[in-house]
C-alpha cells in the first residue's frame, strides 16, 4: 500500500485541533502547558464557542498562550487574571471567559484576586497549572513547591522553618460558596488527558450555565525547572506531587 493511499481524510483518527495554529511553541520538551493548551482548544471548538470565547493569559510561562490558540485574548498583569476576567464576564455576559494561570500567578501574587473572584462566584473558568515552581523566571520556589524540593531560591530544598508549607490553594477554594467545581487533573498519560478533557468541558459548560466559578487545577511537570528529563519528571510527579496534591474532584456541584 502506498502512503498516499493511507493518508486520506476518511482514515484520519486524530489531528491537530483546528484552533491551534502553526506558531512554533516556546515551551520546553515535556512541558504540560502544550497538552493543556490543546485540550482547551479542542473543548472550545467542540462546544462551538470559538466566536464567543475570550482567554486571559497570565504572567508566567503561559504568557504567550495567545500565540497558539486562535481566539481573542487579553494578557493580564502578574496575578491579576481573575480580576480581568471578572470584568470581561460581567460586561459581556454571553461570552465564555477563562483564565490560564501558573501557581506563582494564582497562589502567590494573585491570591487575593483568585479568592475573591471565586468567592463572588464569577461565571468563569480558572485553569490552574501547578508545576510547583516558577518556570518562566528560571526555577525559583513557588507557593506550591513541596517540602524538601529544591529550586533556585531554595537550593537545599524547601525548608518549612524558612519558607512555610506548600499551599493547597484548591482545597481552600473548594471551601468557597462561589465555586461550583474545583478539581485536580493531570495530563501525563492518555487516560489522564481524556479524563481531563471531559472535566474541562464541564467547567466551561458551568460558566455558560451561570453556576459559578470552576477551577481546574492541572498537577504538572516542569522538566527544565526540576532539572529532570520529561520521563523522569512524570515519574517524579506521580511519586511526589500526587500524594500531596491528590487528583480528583474537591467539589463538583451538579
Amino acid at each position: 500500500m502506498e502512503l498516499t493511499e493511507i493518508i486520506k481524510p476518511e482514515n484520519q483518527v486524530y489531528g491537530k485541533p483546528r484552533l491551534m495554529n502553526d506558531n512554533p511553541m516556546h515551551y520546553c520538551p515535556g512541558c504540560s502547558h502544550g497538552v493543556i493548551h490543546k485540550l482547551i482548544a479542542e473543548v472550545i471548538d467542540d462546544m462551538g464557542m470559538e466566536e464567543q470565547t475570550i482567554g486571559v493569559s497570565p504572567v508566567g510561562c503561559a504568557v504567550f498562550a495567545y500565540n497558539y490558540i486562535d481566539i481573542d485574548w487579553v494578557e493580564a498583569a502578574h496575578g491579576r487574571a481573575p480580576a480581568v476576567a471578572t470584568a470581561l464576564k460581567r460586561l459581556n455576559r454571553e461570552k465564555m471567559i477563562f483564565t490560564y494561570q501558573g501557581d506563582g500567578d494564582l497562589a502567590a501574587i494573585g491570591t487575593a484576586e483568585t479568592i475573591h473572584a471565586v468567592n463572588r462566584g464569577e461565571n468563569i473558568v480558572i485553569v490552574f497549572v501547578n508545576n510547583a515552581i516558577y518556570g518562566m523566571t528560571g526555577g525559583q520556589m513557588a507557593p506550591t513547591t513541596l517540602v524538601g524540593m529544591p529550586s533556585s531560591t531554595c537550593p537545599y530544598g524547601r525548608d518549612v522553618a524558612l519558607n512555610g508549607y506548600p499551599l493547597k490553594i484548591a482545597n481552600l477554594l473548594a471551601q468557597l460558596e462561589g465555586a461550583c467545581m474545583v478539581t485536580r487533573q493531570s495530563v501525563q498519560t492518555a487516560a489522564a488527558v481524556r479524563k481531563a478533557k471531559k472535566t474541562l468541558r464541564k467547567a466551561f459548560e458551568n460558566s455558560m450555565a451561570g453556576k459559578g466559578t470552576s477551577v481546574v487545577e492541572f498537577v504538572s511537570t516542569c522538566s527544565s525547572g526540576w532539572k529532570m528529563t520529561p520521563d523522569q519528571s512524570n515519574k517524579w510527579m506521580e511519586a511526589h506531587m500526587f500524594p500531596f496534591y491528590p487528583l480528583g474532584d474537591l467539589k463538583n456541584t451538579e
Binding site: 466566536e51 487579553v74 480580576a83 480581568v84 459581556n92 461570552k95
Partner: protein, 360 residues
Amino acid sequence: MEDIKLMKGNEAIAYAAIRYGTDGYFGYPITPQSEIMETLMAEMPWETTGMVVLQAESEVAAINMVYGGAASGKRVMTSSSSPGISLKLEGISYIAGAELPCLIVNVMRGGPGLGTIQPSQADYFQTVKGGGHGDYRLITLAPYSVQEMADFVALGFDLAFKYSNPAMILADGIIGQMMEKVVLPPYRQRKTEADIRQESPWAVQGKLQDRKVNVITSLELDPAIMEENNNRFQAKYRKIEETEVRCEEFQCKDAEYLLVAFGSSARICQKAVELAREEGIRLGLLRPITLWPFPKKTIEAYGAQAKGMLSVELNAGQMVEDVRLAVNGQTKVEHFGRLGGVVFTPDEIIAALKEKLLKP
C-alpha cells in the same frame, strides 16, 4: 428645562457617569471619594442603563477589572484617592502600554503614606510624570468646580477613546466634598456589541470569521518592535500635546504678576486676584485645566510679559517645575504651598506674593 441639582463633586461624578452611558465602574472605598461608589450603588444603574457597578477586593483588583473591561471596548472607570492610586499604578501602566481607553478619578488627599484625609495636590508628580513604570503619559484633567467634575467625565472618556489612552480626573478632597449647583449632562446610549466591533475593531469581543484574533497585551520581547511601539506612543503623546491643551485665563491681559494654579487652589486664587486688584496690584491667574498636556505655550507667552509668576499649589512645589520649564528663565517663578491637608486663604496667597515677588 435645565436639570440643575445641588450636590457634592463626588456625587456629580457618579451621576455624570451613569448619564454618559458608562458600562462599568469598579472601585474600592477610600476617603474622600467614597460617595462615588455609594451614589452609584444607591442609584442601581444596572436596572436602568445596564451599567455594572462592582466593589472590588482592592484597588489593584479594581484597576485590573478596568483593564479587562476596557480590553473588550467598554466604557469603564474607577475612582480612588492617593494611597489607592499608588496601588493602581501597575495597572495604569499596563493600560497605557496596551493602549486602552478608560477613566480614572483621583480625589487627592495629603500624604505621604496613609497621610491625612484632608485635601492636597501632592500627587501632581505621580500623575503627570509617570507614577507607574515605563514611558507613558496619562491625559490629566483638573476640575475646579462641581460642574467640571460632572463635565470632565464625558471629556475624559471622549479623549481616552479618541487617543486609546487612559485619562485621569485629578481632583482633591475639596472638589470632591463641596456642594454646588450643577447641570447634569444629558443621557447617552451605552454602546452595543455592534457599535464596539465597528468603532473599536481592536477590542476583544470574540473572534468572528471575518477577522484575525485580537490580542490585548503590553508585552513585546523583540526590542526592535518594542521600540517601534514606544515610538508610536510618543507620536501619539506629541499629538495630544499639540491638540488637547486646555487652560483658562482670569484677568491676565493687563496683569503684571500671575498666579498659576489648578483645581481647588485655582478657586482660592480667583479670590486672591480680586483682593489684590482692590489693593491696586495687577494680578492675574492662569489655570491649567489639562495638567498633561501642560499649557506650556500659554505660560511661556505670559512669561515673556509678566514681572513674576507664583505657582500656588497644595504641595511642596510640584507644578512649579513645569511652570519654570515653560517660562525658561524669562521671568521669576516662585512657589507657594501649604502641606499635609492644610488649605491656604486668599490673604496668605497675597502675603506670599508680596514676600516672594513684590518685595524690592
